[in-house]
């Protein structure tokens, strides 16, 4: 008879954490393989095609990186918020807020050409931060559930964008479609060669990840954020100013998502367009990116790349494999489900019972 029981794991090693995250990804890819087969596509061949056209192909890889840019920016922001136990589900809306602000500056504000791009990023950051400020202040002052408020603000942002592109900001030279005029050329972000890889945003994302890693590990503010996240009572005891710190870091978190929105409109579309085309659900996927990274801003670089790969693979699946366009969002959900179910592996481990104590049928996990 197998004589195993669950024992509390007080301190999971980084290797175990990494292995469990990897296992969750592997599990979801396995289920996806089944989905491929159900749609009449040989899973192995499908994965081969996807890898050949994304990782092994220069242009394909540039698409992977491009799609990971918004995930990186928003994901790094969310890591920060989640560490302080602020459940920001609103990155999607914050991305759109950033996109709107950047478009507004590009279309209507007379900024000297060389300063245009920085001005757009600044406006996008501030707009994203403002979109995060509302739920942050409601939470710390009134205790309003931030999950619902950030989510509602996603829908509000979506309809604001729709209203703008159908109404006040609707392009003068546009017929039939709903979008704004194209930005002037000096409001475009430069790209790498002929790809759509808008590298300034990528650098911003990488820089932000490094900066936040530094803040968390080396600064007083980082120490405070970690205390708040691990033990609010202890943080209170240590004299951390909750109100200020929470609001500030949520604003930074949301501002980062706003930057992602700037990158999408200034780097790719070069105009304000239908909200579902500005963000393909990046704000929601960023939640997964942040959770997979388990609180580590540098790990976001890897997890964002992985989820970027899923999005890029979505295009390949649609075009080359004729699979439904909903595939990436299903994979998104699967990764998250597997992540949830693998969580206990970090808290408990299986141990062999000692012989003497094995006569009782006690469930050790309750200890």
């Amino acid at each position: 008879m197998l004589n195993l029981r669950f024992v509390r794991h007080p301190d999971p090693s980084p290797v175990l954490v990494f292995a469990v995250s990897l296992g969750a990804i592997a599990g979801s890819l396995l289920v996806t393989a089944v989905l491929f087969a159900l749609h009449g596509v040989a899973p192995l061949a499908a994965y081969t095609t996807i890898i050949e056209r994304t990782i092994l192909d220069g242009r394909g890889f540039s698409e992977v990186v491009r799609k990971s840019i918004p995930l990186l920016l928003a994901g790094v922001g969310l890591v920060l918020a989640f560490r302080a136990r602020f459940w920001n589900i609103g990155a999607e809306g914050q991305i759109l807020a950033g996109a709107v602000a950047a478009s507004g500056v590009a279309l209507f504000v007379p900024v000297p050409a060389p300063l245009m791009v920085p001005a757009m990023f600044l406006a996008g950051f501030l707009a994203g931060a403002a979109w995060g400020f509302v739920p942050a202040i409601l939470k710390v002052r009134l205790g309003v559930n931030e999950i619902i408020t950030t989510l509602m603000l996603n829908y509000i942002a979506l309809y604001v964008v729709r209203w703008l592109i159908n109404g006040p900001w609707r392009g003068t030279s546009v017929t039939g479609f709903s979008y704004s005029d194209r930005f002037a050329e000096y409001a475009w972000l430069p790209t790498v060669g002929t790809t759509r890889l808008h590298w300034p945003t990528l650098l911003l994302g990488l820089g932000l990840a490094l900066l936040l890693a530094f803040v968390l590990s080396r600064t007083r503010l980082g120490f405070e954020i970690r205390m708040m996240g691990e033990s609010p009572e202890a943080a209170r005891y240590a004299g951390v100013n909750f109100l200020w710190t929470t609001v500030a870091l949520v604003c930074v978190s949301a501002g980062a998502a706003g930057l992602a929105g700037v990158g999408e409109v200034a780097g790719i579309h070069r105009r304000l367009i239908e909200p579902n085309s500005i963000s393909l659900g990046y704000g929601y996927t960023a939640i997964i990116v942040a959770l997979l990274a388990r609180g580590n801003p540098l790990a976001v670089i890897a997890t964002a790349l992985f989820m970027g790969l899923v999005f890029a693979a979505g295009d390949i699946m649609k075009v080359s494999l004729r699979l439904p366009s909903q595939m990436p969002s299903v994979i998104n959900g699967l990764v998250l489900l597997f992540l949830v179910c693998s969580e206990p592996l970090l808290r408990y481990r299986l141990a062999r019972r000692t012989l003497k104590s094995s006569q009782s049928a006690e469930g050790g996990a309750t200890g």
């Binding site: 989905l35 459940w87 589900i89 409601l138 009134l142 205790g143 309003v144 559930n145 999950i147 619902i148 408020t149 989510l151 509602m152 603000l153 829908y155 509000i156 309809y159 604001v160 729709r162 209203w163 159908n166 109404g167 929601y284 939640i287 997964i288 959770l291 439904p324 909903q326 595939m327 990436p328 969002s329 299903v330 994979i331 998104n332 959900g333 699967l334 998250l336 489900l337 992540l339 949830v340 179910c341 969580e343 206990p344 808290r347 996990a365 309750t366 200890g367």
Partner: protein, 308 residues
């Protein structure tokens, strides 16, 4: 004239808010047992899509409803498994269900988009009750059966929660699982059933959309209703009867806002329910005294014997 406006608005409000009421009641039932369910949106949309597919394939909306309820119940059980047995983070588990549900429903319903349901549910009047002046036209005539059932379910649920042994057990599990445990109640079983039943009701709410209110399937057709239902549960202070009131109020605001159609762009009108939701939560928070006694004390906490 004004009376007709009132009854007409109430009737339209009920039609609009029926899925909200179903989902909010499901959420209340689950949360009263101490489990937060952020997967309502996912459960609703999965209910909507399976309900539609089964109804369209079989020709019977009632079979569709049954399928939707079953799917909702099963997904609820999964959430209970994650939250209670695995003791995973309840927020993340619920979010996972919502994100997965939105994706999967899109995949499942891909071939069914834009094909109106051939045999949808029909509106009917409640015998006797529809003849009551004011109340009859407002609440008991010209609605789908599921709307009436929502009202009935709210009354039943309220009665069960406050006047039966089962309700006492459920509430105790949500308030103090340790007290329930020492009284010999199975916290695990109670929570599984509550979250499963909550999922079932969310599934019915979703089916109302695709089988009755808008008898068709559209990707993402729940459009955040599950999240609004979550807010309604808080606004209603976890009371089923108040949830009906809150749902009707919500529906009435929404219905009335359409009288502004000429002056406001449609996008901004569509946005209103989400704005209302935030306002409702702020209002609830401002009535802080009540709130302190609102949420079940063990809400969101997993329970294990011997850990406090």
């Amino acid at each position: 004239m004004e009376i007709e406006l009132l009854t007409g608005t109430t009737a339209r409000a009920l039609a609009f808010s029926t899925p909200l009421i179903w989902a909010a009641m499901g959420e209340i039932y689950a949360e009263r047992s101490g489990v937060v369910n952020l997967g309502v949106e996912g459960m609703m949309i999965l209910g909507a899509v399976t309900g539609f597919i089964v109804a369209q394939s079989s020709g019977s909306p009632w079979l569709g409803l049954l399928a939707a309820a079953t799917v909702g119940f099963s997904v609820g059980l999964f959430h209970a498994f994650a939250a209670v047995t695995l003791r995973a983070n309840q927020y993340v588990s619920g979010l996972a269900i919502t994100i997965f549900g939105l994706g999967l429903s899109g995949l499942l319903g891909r071939d069914w988009v834009g094909r109106p349901l051939s045999d949808s549910m029909e509106v009917l009047d409640v015998p006797l009750l529809s003849d009551i002046p004011l109340l009859g036209p407002a609440l008991f005539s010209g609605q789908y059966l599921l709307a009436y059932l929502a009202l009935l379910a709210a009354v039943v649920l309220w009665f069960v929660l406050h006047h039966t042994r089962q309700g006492l057990v459920l509430r105790t599990v949500g308030e103090s699982p340790a007290a329930a445990d020492t009284a010999g109640v199975s916290v695990t079983l109670t929570r599984y059933l509550a979250v499963g039943t909550g999922g079932l009701m969310a599934g019915i709410g979703g089916a109302y959309l695709s089988l009755a209110y808008r008898p068709s399937w559209g990707e993402g057709m729940t459009n955040g209703m599950g999240w609004i239902a979550l807010a309604l549960a808080i606004f209603a202070l976890w009371d089923p009867l108040r949830a009906v009131g809150a749902g009707l109020l919500f529906g009435a605001f929404f219905t009335l806002s359409f009288r502004l159609q000429d002056r406001f762009p449609p996008e901004l009108l569509t946005m209103l329910p989400y704005v209302f939701t935030i306002f409702a939560l702020v209002l609830t928070a401002l009535g802080r005294g009540r709130r302190a006694f609102g949420a079940p004390e063990a809400l969101g906490h997993s329970y294990s014997r011997g850990e406090r």
